[in-house]
Symmetry: C2
Subunit: 175 residues, 2 copies
């Protein structure tokens, strides 16, 4: 009920329209998923607004619809692009960059893994080695339970690392 402007007034400028119910629902949906992985709500807002728009949108239009500041939208677009969750669309004869969602779930999930998870995993060997050294020092007196725990860490890293190809394969079946 009480919808404002239907979808778009494409060629035209200042869209300070109120968000539609549809957009609100989508924002809720995406925000809940985003929270699990620690994304700020603004990301969900931007993604939802693009999701609800059949046409690619320029930053200015998103600002108007989302009720966020230029800065927030600029940062959000950058990160969403880095994740592969949105794609820039270059329109000839227009200086602005337009954006469309990436609606291929596989690509979004893979982007998240590649950007957020794997970099952390890569740190593990160094960290575990350091932990092992600390442990080894104080361990000379015979605290072997600790060493067993550190060995656990190594095992975790190995198993997780070995699983990533399978995991990518699993989400590769999405689309």
């Amino acid at each position: 009920m009480l919808r404002s402007s239907p979808a778009l007034a494409p060629t035209d400028s200042h869209e300070s329209a109120r968000r539609s119910d549809l957009e609100e629902e989508l924002i809720n949906l995406f925000a809940r998923m985003g929270r699990i992985v620690g994304f700020p709500r603004s990301f969900a807002e931007i993604y939802a607004i693009l999701f609800a728009s059949p046409e690619p949108m320029a930053m200015e239009q998103i600002i108007g619809r989302a009720g966020l500041s230029q800065g927030a939208v600029s940062q959000g677009l950058r990160q969403l692009r880095a994740l592969g969750a949105i794609q820039p669309v270059y329109v000839p004869g227009d200086r602005r960059t337009f954006f469309n969602i990436e609606d291929n779930l596989r690509k979004v999930a893979a982007g998240f893994l590649k950007e957020q998870v794997l970099p952390q995993l890569e740190d593990w060997p160094d960290r575990i080695e350091r932990i092992g050294r600390i442990c080894g020092d104080s361990d000379s007196k015979g605290e072997s339970a600790l060493s067993a725990r550190v060995e656990k860490l190594r095992g975790w890293h190995q198993r997780i690392s070995r699983s990533t190809p399978e995991l990518l394969q699993l989400i590769g079946k999405w689309s």
Copy 2:
């Protein structure tokens, strides 16, 4: 820096001592992973301290070592237990509850999925239906692009849902 009351020194050591380098390193490691999934740092601290202890620890001991308040540790223990990341150990003749880590990665990962992710997924059908209705109302005039997007959502939910058994199987190989 005021230190809490010496309290009873039961059978042994680790009390209100300063955290060791080992513990600091472990906290960093766990905190980084925890951040990805939105856990507060205190969870990592508690888990790390238990990880570094060959013996199960009671709350009071954890408080002393972590430098956190009673309240924070109480809450943290509860949530970690809900996730299956730690286990209570009942010691006969001691009123306190002791805790040990669950070092089986599979169980921790499964706990996270079951507690944090799947409940969210279960909401999707309702939400999508609601979105479909909103969309259908305004859609009568022929905005079929939106309907296609909503259909996308359904597809996502279906694929993710169908993948969870495989995912559980994948992490089932861990240990």
